[in-house]
């Protein structure tokens, strides 16, 4: 145990995900040896995060203003909405450079084992958007795991009766660079059912 504020710093750093006591100690001593200007910059950023980060009132991703950069951008296709679980998924889709529509962040996936049902996610907000905006296609980009698939199933059931709305799901299948014999049954089954003519 260190004395005073150094131990407090190690304890606080140790609360971060993936940071154990040894890593916390290493980061703490790195900070102690850092240039005071670097520490001030970090302090300013943390202060801004504590005060300034809000969630976009339209799509629910992290934003600095009431509306995020993507929802404010008039050049984006407002008829296309990509539904994702977390704000970090917005970045993942953006990195592809393929998608020019807008997003809707649910804030998680349906997971009864963790007590997360439809009321805990931003599903009502999605329905309200579809009811008022000019959306013609909803792309379900929830994670390709059990919870994400169940969330997509639930959303399809809710959205299929909207007139003139197309609901699509991200394709899933075999990763590039892999061997077929190592593919699991679920993924291989998906790849077979989603095959396309060449």
């Amino acid at each position: 145990m260190y004395e005073g504020v150094v131990q407090d710093l190690i304890d606080e750093l140790g609360r971060f995900p993936g940071v154990g006591p040894k890593s916390a100690q290493r980061i703490a001593f790195h900070l102690l040896n850092s240039d005071p200007a670097d520490i001030n910059r970090l302090r300013e950023v943390l202060g801004k995060v504590a005060e300034g980060v809000t969630f976009c009132e339209v799509c629910g991703t992290v934003a600095e203003q009431q509306r995020c950069r993507i929802c404010r951008d008039e050049r984006r296709d407002a008829t296309l909405v990509c539904v994702v679980e977390e704000p970090k998924d917005v970045l993942a889709v953006e990195r592809t450079g393929e998608f020019k529509g807008r997003y809707h962040v649910l804030g998680g996936a349906l997971d009864p084992l963790s007590g997360i049902g439809p009321d805990q996610l931003r599903m009502r907000e999605l329905l309200a958007r579809i009811g008022t905006d000019e959306i013609t296609e909803v792309i379900l980009a929830t994670d390709p795991n059990t919870e994400g698939e169940a969330t997509a199933t639930y959303l399809v059931r809710m959205l299929r009766d909207f007139p003139g709305l197309t609901v699509t799901r991200l394709a899933s299948g075999l990763p590039m660079g892999g061997d077929l014999e190592f593919a699991d049954e679920l993924t291989l089954g998906r790849a077979l059912s989603g095959r396309r003519a060449l």
Binding site: L110, D111, P112, L113, P144, N145, T153, F182, L186, G189
Partner: protein, 270 residues
């Protein structure tokens, strides 16, 4: 024992570090096992989707210092896909897994009967031939019997006088006769107790001919009985989607023909 192998049902997954997961399985020989699946969250993982909840898998473990490590996985039954394709089945299957996880408190203690019950229930759900809510209620009743909390249905829970009895009291342990009836007992009606008995012994023809209001009452009693004994409520049970009315068309009993090994025989045989 550095390497060992068993079949099991994946009941829970928790994130660990950047790309790993802690997988909780209920296995045939070793009961509940918690083990680390390294790199399973990466898209190129060799485990792929095999270690997702509801998966019935053949697993090889390496004995670790704190948690064992999963080294190989092969799918035995892929229950996940058909269950996840229907939201009601998904919520029901989640409640089944959570119940099994809670009832199996000790790691490494064999729970063969519970393991077979879970597989039977998931197989019935994946097949989609039976009403998912009935499958859940049948599972919960039998799982409680496994845990030693079987509710008295055909005899009085206090004096064991033969029934049928009109009252039901969760704290007393099930149906109670007029003489033993404690304050706060409910009067569920004869049809509800008949349904409970049918679910317990695996008489699906009788269970499927019950009306939806009767099923709803029976589900309420079963949930109350379970939560009384578990002391802490199940997270997934309030999220289970139950149909509020009968669907138009063919009665359910006419749609089902194939029996399910684990859920069809009398409960006393297991």
């Amino acid at each position: 024992m550095s390497l060992y192998r068993d079949t099991g049902i994946v009941v829970r997954v928790q994130k660990l570090g950047e790309a790993d997961r802690i997988i909780t399985l209920i296995t045939r020989k070793f009961g509940k096992v918690r083990a680390v699946a390294k790199g399973v969250r990466r898209t190129g993982s060799r485990f792929g989707a095999r270690l997702e909840p509801f998966g019935h898998v053949d697993v090889q473990f390496y004995t670790g210092r704190t948690l064992d490590v999963i080294t190989q996985v092969q799918t035995v039954d892929a229950f996940g896909s058909p269950i996840v394709a229907d939201y009601q089945r998904y919520t029901v299957a989640s409640a089944i897994l959570e119940t099994a996880d809670r009832l199996c408190a000790e790691e490494g203690e064999p729970v063969l009967r519970l393991y077979l019950l879970v597989i039977g229930a998931l197989r019935a759900l994946a097949g989609g031939e039976r009403d998912a809510a009935l499958v859940l209620d049948a599972f919960l009743l039998r799982a409680m019997a496994f845990a030693g909390w079987e509710p008295a249905i055909v005899e009085c829970a206090r004096c064991a006088s033969p029934g049928p009895h009109p009252a039901f009291n969760v704290a007393a342990g099930g149906a109670v006769c007029a003489r033993c009836r404690p304050a706060g007992s409910v009067n569920p009606g004869a049809e509800v107790l008949i349904l409970l008995d049918a679910l317990m012994v695996g008489d699906w023809a009788r269970a499927e001919h019950s009306s939806y209001p009767v099923r709803r009452q029976a589900s309420g009693l079963i949930a109350a009985h379970l939560q009384w004994h578990l002391e802490r409520g199940l997270r997934s049970l309030p999220l289970v989607e139950r149909r509020l009315r009968e669907q138009a068309g063919v009665p359910e009993a006419e749609q089902h023909a194939e029996p399910h090994a684990e859920l069809d025989g009398p409960a006393t045989q297991r």
